[in-house]
């Protein structure tokens, strides 16, 4: 495994190594092939990325004591014992906890107090989250990461759920989908740097959580603000405009059977998860044309293994992973069932 070095094609993604590890480990688990890795070794490796405060007082310094994404952001204290900036990142923390859960590590044994107390430092007055304590934007991606972290640690003291909910509601666009921030275009995922495939991949890794609509709906579900299978309940009492959201999601399945992230954009493997998962959470997955989607996804399957973004392209680990999650949603035989709101195997179902 890539404990020490990642393949040279992915080395520009070094800062996101934990995210790559998540795709690998969780992908193997979905494929029921986790026996191929040394689970204890994986757990130890992931735990080595945790940022630790030297004292409880440091928890108030504003930094986030979660997990780093890579060794390159972990700095040892200098000779005088002064710790340089050594903060974790929300997205890496989400990946770390997800990997630990996947390999069966008992999350109750980690220092969750440091994570949760310092997580509060990242929540903004408007309810959104920054991914690190300085120098970053705030948007729905990081609200999702925070919600997923609290959910996995089974402890909501790390965030103000009400404020987060208020922020999410402001992100629902006039067309029913959700933008990453209030005012932004609805979409399923974060994508779109057309000039460079690798920059797109980089951004996707850093924002592993995905874009507006998935983050919004999955967060609300994790935080307990929307019930399971909402569509079978009385819709009018929901906090979000569910009919409009449902219609927007349904319209994302294109004529080629695949799903697009935004209106009038091409179909892309990963949206079969980002939009499909939203539909699953709402109870509307049964409405899609599964045969057409299955057919489209197979055109993105590579002869080298894995999946590409578009039919005929080369595969990458991100689209491979979301290809597997999409097939899991389709209940493809041989794959583990999916927890739509966490984007990984549903551990309660196996």
């Amino acid at each position: 495994m890539m404990y020490n070095l990642i393949p040279h094609h992915y080395q520009s993604q070094e800062i996101n190594r934990l995210t790559l590890a998540f795709f690998t480990i969780s992908g193997l688990h979905l494929l029921r092939a986790l026996d191929r890795v040394d689970k204890d070794r994986v757990a130890d490796w992931v735990l080595s990325f945790q940022a630790h405060p030297r004292s409880r007082a440091e928890l108030k310094n504003g930094q986030f004591y979660g997990f780093h994404g890579s060794r390159t952001s972990q700095f040892p204290p200098d000779e005088n014992g002064v710790s340089a900036r050594n903060a974790g990142h929300l997205a890496s923390t989400y990946c770390a906890l997800a990997i630990l859960k996947t390999v069966g590590f008992n999350l109750l044994t980690i220092d969750k107090e440091s994570i949760l107390i310092s997580l509060r430092n990242l929540q903004q007055p408007d309810g959104s989250f920054m991914p690190v304590d300085v120098g970053a934007e705030t948007d729905l991606r990081f609200v999702y990461c925070a919600a997923a972290i609290c959910f996995m640690l089974e402890d909501w003291s790390g965030m103000d759920r009400e404020k987060a909910k208020e922020y999410i509601l402001k992100c629902q666009s006039y067309d029913g989908g959700f933008g990453l921030m209030p005012g932004l275009e609805s979409h399923g995922e974060l994508n779109n740097i057309s000039s460079s495939y690798w920059f797109m991949f980089c951004q996707l890794c850093v924002s592993r959580a995905g874009g507006g609509t998935y983050c919004a709906v999955a967060s609300l579900r994790l935080m307990g603000y929307i019930e399971d299978d909402l569509l079978s309940k009385t819709v009018t009492s929901s906090i979000i405009n569910v009919p409009l959201l449902l219609d927007w999601c349904m319209q994302r399945q294109a004529i080629d059977g695949g799903f697009q992230g935004r209106a009038n954009k091409p179909s892309d493997t990963c949206y079969a998860f980002w939009i499909g998962a939203v539909l699953r959470i709402l109870g509307g997955y049964k409405f899609i044309d599964k045969i057409a989607l299955h057919r489209f996804l197979l055109t993105c399957q590579s002869e080298f293994g894995g999946f590409s973004k578009y039919p005929g392209d080369l595969p990458d680990i991100y689209h491979a992973y979301y290809g597997y999650t999409a097939f899991s949603l389709l209940e493809e035989p041989g794959l583990n069932p999916l927890c739509a709101e966490l984007g990984m195997t549903d551990l309660t179902a196996i």
Binding site: P131, G135, A136, E137, S173, Y174, D175, G176, G179, L180, M181, G183, L184, E185, S186, H187, L190, N191, N192, I193, S194, S195, S196, W198, F199, M200, C202, Q203, V206, S207, G211, D247, W248, M250, Q251, Q253, I255, G257, R262, A263, N264, K265, G284, K286, F287, I288, D289, A292
Partner: protein, 240 residues
């Protein structure tokens, strides 16, 4: 001058690096301190990026930040117009138009702009009735004001016009269905137009217009057949 130095220093990564969180944050930190002048130059810079990729999500996000933090709203509606003339299918441009119409301090807000925007959007619909964007935008113009949507004859009229062409009418039927669900009382012309869409005479059209539309959509929008069957079932439950 400092802005120009800053741009030349940080411009080399623009083509691909605009995706990077920290890069955008750093630009915002500098531009905020330089003020409105830098804001105008930043809007120009973003225009250049959008000319390479008119749907670049991060560029649009940054543009919205600049407008809200430093202003420059005056020309933004014209800019959206220009982008839509280049590509009427550009959903990002439609979204930005909505952003400007609802938030610009110079335009008077959504209600004040509604009539002119409805006219613009109806024109866009008639030119390309299979374009999802203007249909969503039209409905968005009546956000939180469903009654006004139902009562505006321009809305039902554009549905009728498109349905009567018997071409690319799926979105028109959807809109008509939504209007009916919200209490629109159609005259006989609407039913006649929907009846005229039927290609088979074997099954009589449902006497309820909403149900009839669901039946048609189940066939002409077959990718979403299950969804239309479910919508129809919900209508019959509501009718009980």
């Amino acid at each position: 001058m400092f802005y120009d130095l800053f741009i030349s220093f940080s411009s080399y990564p623009l083509n691909g690096n605009f995706a990077m969180n920290f890069f955008r944050h750093h630009r915002r930190w500098v531009v905020e301190r330089l003020g409105a002048n830098a804001g105008a130059k930043e809007l120009n810079l973003i225009k250049k990026i959008l000319s390479l990729d008119a749907k670049n999500y991060h560029a649009w996000s940054h543009r919205q930040w600049v407008l809200q933090a430093l202003g420059g709203w005056e020309d933004e509606l014209d800019y959206c117009q220009q982008l839509l003339e280049e590509d009427i299918f550009n959903n990002s441009a439609w979204n930005q138009r909505y952003f400007v119409v609802t938030r610009s301090p110079f335009l008077g807000g959504l209600k004040a702009m509604r009539a002119s925007e409805v006219r613009y959007t109806v024109e866009a619909i008639l030119a390309n009735p299979n374009n999802e964007c203007p249909w969503r935008y039209l409905q968005g113009l009546y956000k939180d004001d469903i009654k006004a949507l139902v009562n505006d004859p321009e809305i039902s009229s554009v549905c009728l016009k498109v349905i009567n062409t018997k071409n690319n009418y799926v979105f028109a039927l959807k809109m008509l269905l939504d209007l009916l669900c919200h209490g629109f009382q159609p005259c006989h012309e609407f039913r006649d137009s929907v009846v005229a869409l039927r290609t088979s005479d074997t099954d009589p059209l449902d006497p309820d217009l909403s149900m009839a539309i669901c039946d048609i959509l189940e066939h002409v929008d077959s990718l979403r057949a299950s969804y239309w069957i479910w919508r129809k079932n919900k209508l019959s439950v509501a009718a009980v």
